[in-house]
Amino acid sequence: MTTAEDAAHAGLIKVGGRPPLREYVTEVWRRRVFIYSMARFKIESENQQNSLGMLWVVLKPLMNALVYGMIFGLLLGSKSRPEHFIEFLIIGVFVFEFFAQSWTSGGKSITNNAALVQSLAFPRMVLPLAGVTQRFLQFLPTVGIMLVFLVISGGFGAVDLQWLLIVPIFALFYVFNCGLALVTARLSVHWRDLNNFLPFLTRFVFYTTGIFFSVEKRFGPTPTDPDGHQLLLRLLDFQPVHEFLSLARFALLQGPDYSVDGRYWLYATLWSAGLFVFGLWFFWRAEERYGRVD
């Protein structure tokens, strides 16, 4: 008998291999409490050293809205603005913040937790998922602020049942962000420089997605250019962050500027499911690689 057969006979597995995908996913699912607890503890510890403590969970998005509101609402005027610009902007900034933060913490989760990865044996996939979950938990109070703001600015007349649509929209967005984090986390292990590119990538998405301008107004038909940039608009139809933003604004705001193409639901769902499944597979493929130093 060869050593390999001996080992298999004794029930040993080759070190540096990985369990089958199904078994691996089961192991990750068994650690869902880990994912949730890590997310919660990280939020606490991030705020522990500040004298205002957990208040920052609410303060941070408020300050963000204030800064962006001042810059884009007062200082920089533009023709490509829809009605209810401030509400439009706040939804854009808050939802984008969740996306950018998830991308960054999820993407860096393996490289930033090297000590944990190198000491204990566990499926590494829990780390990027915990990173995104942390940002999701921080996003929830932000949603609360957003809704309160909408009520203040629009009166109770603004409240309608359509608001409930944000539940499936943000759930889908969470799944999408998990998929993106899984792919990025693996890539940044192979290529550490990616961590340095992430801030630029998120900023690029920030300025190209319709956060503080309406994509439809900016690139749509105008009196001087009756065709508009049709190709760009079609391309943006397939840009996931733009889809999620449009859906969220459609759910929360009224008016002709905020109708949404029904296909966006389909696209957003396909993006989320597709990227998540691909991310699971892609991350798992390099499981034995995480934590290695060579």
């Binding site: 050593t3 390999a4 001996d6 080992a7 004794a10 029930g11 040993l12 597995i13 080759k14 070190v15 540096g16 192991e27 068994r30 650690r31 409490v33 880990f34 607890s37 890590m38 503890f41 990280k42 510890s45 991030e46 522990q48 937790n113 090297a114 000590a115 944990l116 190198q118 000491s119 204990l120 044996a121 566990f122 829990v126 034995e288 934590g291 290695r292 130093v293 060579d294």
Partner: protein, 253 residues
């Protein structure tokens, strides 16, 4: 070779393992022999190959506690990292019953979180349930001797306290494979005694422990078998007293 009764279950099989590191060398050239110039990356940067392990083979069984000795740079830590899978082998294979935990000297698990949070997360990561962690929580804290500091973030801990807590967490599951690489050296005397007792306990519970140490006394006190590495090869594998005596003789020469 050591005694290998066939009725014991193997926990780790190391089969003719070679590990080579490729390192970018800077500064003075030690020799021309093992160096080649990487033309793609431009002049000046040279790649050297360090042959850290040269064909190591042995089998570790359940109820084994194996001391690993050798001079600095003999390949002890490389072998331990290879067993965990943190270093890939250039040739040869390693088989293990479960993925081992490796305790080395160094960083805390999650330095921004308190000791208490680290215990919970460490336990959850290893696959314990919340209830199991609650049950063993007090044991872990008192074992690590950190009752007064458990609510402080781990970045405030001394290296000895960090090592104690990590060891206490990782050794909660007694039936697994645990690799302790010099991690106990920073602990004080009382803790060393306590951890040695814990290692014996793991061994008795069908676990397998590797202990890398320069303290021959700790190895004699805890290990049932000793492996001596020198320049990446296995020099001797056998009874602790025998191997340690031979090692010390070679050192004194």
């Amino acid at each position: 070779m050591s005694t290998e009764p066939s009725n014991r279950r193997p926990a780790v099989i190391v089969d003719d393992v070679h590990v080579k590191y490729k390192v970018f060398a800077t500064g003075k050239r030690p020799s021309d022999a093992d160096r080649k110039v990487l033309s793609v990356r431009g002049r000046g940067k040279q790649m050297r190959t360090v042959h850290a392990l040269r064909g190591v083979s042995f089998t570790a069984y359940e109820n084994d506690s194996i001391g690993v000795i050798g001079t600095n740079g003999s390949g002890k830590s490389t072998l331990m990292r290879a067993i965990v899978g943190l270093t890939s082998t250039s040739s040869g294979s390693i088989y293990a019953q479960s993925r081992p935990s490796l305790l080395g000297v160094g960083a805390a698990l999650l330095r921004d979180l308190s000791g208490e949070r680290n215990i919970i997360l460490g336990g959850l990561a290893m696959g314990l349930t919340m209830r199991e962690i609650e049950e063993s929580y007090d044991d872990i804290v008192s074992f690590a001797g950190l009752e007064k500091f458990i609510d402080l973030p781990m970045r405030a801990y001394s290296s000895g306290m960090t090592a104690r807590l990590k060891f206490a967490i990782a050794s909660t599951r007694t039936h697994e494979i645990l690799i302790v690489d010099e991690a106990l050296a920073v602990g004080d005397r009382t803790f060393r005694k306590r951890s040695e007792a814990r290692i014996r306990e793991i061994r008795d519970n069908a676990g397998t422990v590797f202990l890398v140490s320069h303290s021959m006394q700790s190895i004699k006190d805890t290990c049932s078998r000793v492996i001596w590495l020198d320049q990446g090869t296995l020099v001797m594998d056998g009874e602790p007293d025998e191997v340690i005596a031979a090692y010390q003789e070679a050192q004194d020469k």
